[in-house]
């Protein structure tokens, strides 16, 4: 059972629609007790970092997420949900994140290119991970963001994407059960759905 974290930060519906479309059992996690019933957790999210973290704390989700991760259960952070995995964010003001993957979230600086980075862009794979099984190499995915996750250690980067400079577009923790992706798989058509399907098949580490 995949839980979709509802912490008041946007587009749960798209994630739920995509899981429903794939016939993957899912439920909205709207209070801490719901963690008992799930095997996988998706942290979606659109919006600003400080408000998101505050909502996670106010909803008493902080510790359950850390415990869920520590137990080796699969977690997928999407867009802002990915950025929240970092040690801290620098959007608006410096704010502590969930700290599941060492790094910080900073503003993109793509020289003369436009911000936000909106549209379809590709991935270059630095490491193998089951979440990309059967995903077409060179496939483009849908990005929409102005900040990015600057990891502290290169070994936490699964994929990079080039927009002006290269930036980490998929990150993973050392154990391999917590994955964050900057693009929206639920908005990336066939290849994105394949990634979500792979996530549902990830096993407890």
């Amino acid at each position: 059972m995949i839980g979709i974290l509802d912490y008041g930060m946007g587009n749960l519906r798209s994630v739920k629609n995509s899981l429903d479309f794939l016939f993957l059992e899912n439920t909205i996690v709207s209070n801490p007790e719901d963690f008992k019933n799930i095997t996988h957790l998706i942290i979606p999210g659109v919006g600003a970092f400080p408000e998101a973290i505050e909502n996670i704390k106010n909803g008493s989700f902080h510790q359950p997420i850390l415990d869920f991760a520590k137990e080796g259960n699969p977690i997928l952070g999407i867009c802002l949900g990915m950025q929240l995995l970092a040690s801290f964010g620098e959007e608006v003001e410096r704010t502590a994140g969930l700290g599941l993957i060492p790094g910080r979230v900073i503003l993109m600086n793509p020289k003369d290119l436009t911000i936000p980075h909106i549209g379809w862009n590709g991935l270059s794979y630095l490491k193998a991970h089951p979440i990309f099984d059967g995903v077409k190499k060179g496939a483009d995915l849908y990005f929409v963001h102005s900040y990015y996750f600057k990891t502290e250690n290169d070994n936490n980067i699964l994929c990079e994407t080039t927009y002006g400079d290269k930036f980490p577009s998929v990150v993973v923790n050392d154990l391999g059960n917590v994955v964050g992706m900057q693009y929206h798989p639920e908005k990336s058509q066939k290849q994105g759905l394949k990634i979500l399907e792979n996530f549902s098949r990830m096993e407890k580490c």
Binding site: N17, W120, K187, Q189
Partner: protein, 252 residues
């Protein structure tokens, strides 16, 4: 590298899809949900829905269509027409929209843009602007092209960028439905003013028009409607033509 986008636009009227010429003489072009399904199967990059009567009829944007389409089309969905309050933005996003287009309300309520960008993020607030070329100058119009606005293109865009819009959707009414190509001067003028992505609409009549606009401007995405409604064309052929002309297009 970031790809250039192909964005079919669906104009909504009374639950149907329509298309006109110069924002007038609308013809029925089918069922918008069925059309969205077809576009989805053709791997378009995004869909834009514009409820063209909502502002003039003083009603809320049709959110139902987004709720339906988002159940089966897994790509970015943008909707506009009658977006006049934060509450409407919230309703549209909750129904599955990723972005909303704000056009008429932006002229009188810059606070709406500011609040929308602060609450939901700049990335989901798209400024819609409709322009007519009159005596060589670009004049802004609101209410689906019915009301002339006094503010200059440059001032309006500067104000709105300051308020936090994340993208601009610009249409040249004079070119709309005429299928004689995009207004490259207008596109260049807008892209020169901002550092956010610009989507241009109005004028695509053949695939070379897309190539001309991508080669002649820094536009991020091109929106189009008539080209698919009134000809033997589809997004797959558009994609092939762009690829053959070395325009970077999404790999599927």
């Amino acid at each position: 590298m970031l790809k250039k986008r192909i964005i079919p636009t669906l104009l909504l009227r009374n639950g149907r899809m329509v298309k006109g010429i110069n924002f007038d003489n609308f013809r029925d072009t089918g069922d918008p949900i069925f059309a969205s399904r077809v576009y989805n199967s053709q791997y378009v990059d995004e869909l834009v829905f514009l409820d063209i009567d909502a502002t003039n009829e003083g009603r809320r944007t049709n959110a139902k269509i987004i709720a339906e389409v988002s159940k089966e089309c897994f790509m970015p969905l943008t909707i506009g027409g009658g977006v006049s309050s934060v509450e409407i933005i919230r309703e549209l996003l909750n129904n599955g929209a990723d972005k909303v287009v704000i056009n008429s309300a932006a002229y009188t309520d810059s606070d709406l843009i500011r609040k929308g960008a602060n609450r939901f993020g700049s990335q989901c607030i798209v400024l819609g602007i409709d322009v007519k070329k009159e005596d060589g100058a670009f004049i802004l119009y609101k209410n689906s092209g019915r009301t002339r606005c006094d503010i200059s293109l440059k001032d309006h865009i500067k104000n709105m960028v300051e308020c936090g819009v994340g993208e601009i959707f610009v249409n040249n009414i004079s070119n709309d439905g005429v299928m004689q190509g995009y207004d490259l001067d207008l596109i260049n003028k807008v892209t020169d003013l901002v550092n956010i992505p610009v989507i241009a609409c109005g004028g695509a009549g053949n695939f070379q028009h897309l190539v001309d606009a991508y080669k002649g401007t820094n536009v991020s995405g091109l929106a189009m409607a008539s080209i698919y409604h009134f000809g033997d064309n589809n997004p797959i052929r558009a994609r092939a033509h762009l690829m053959n002309n070395q325009i970077p297009i999404k790999s599927v």
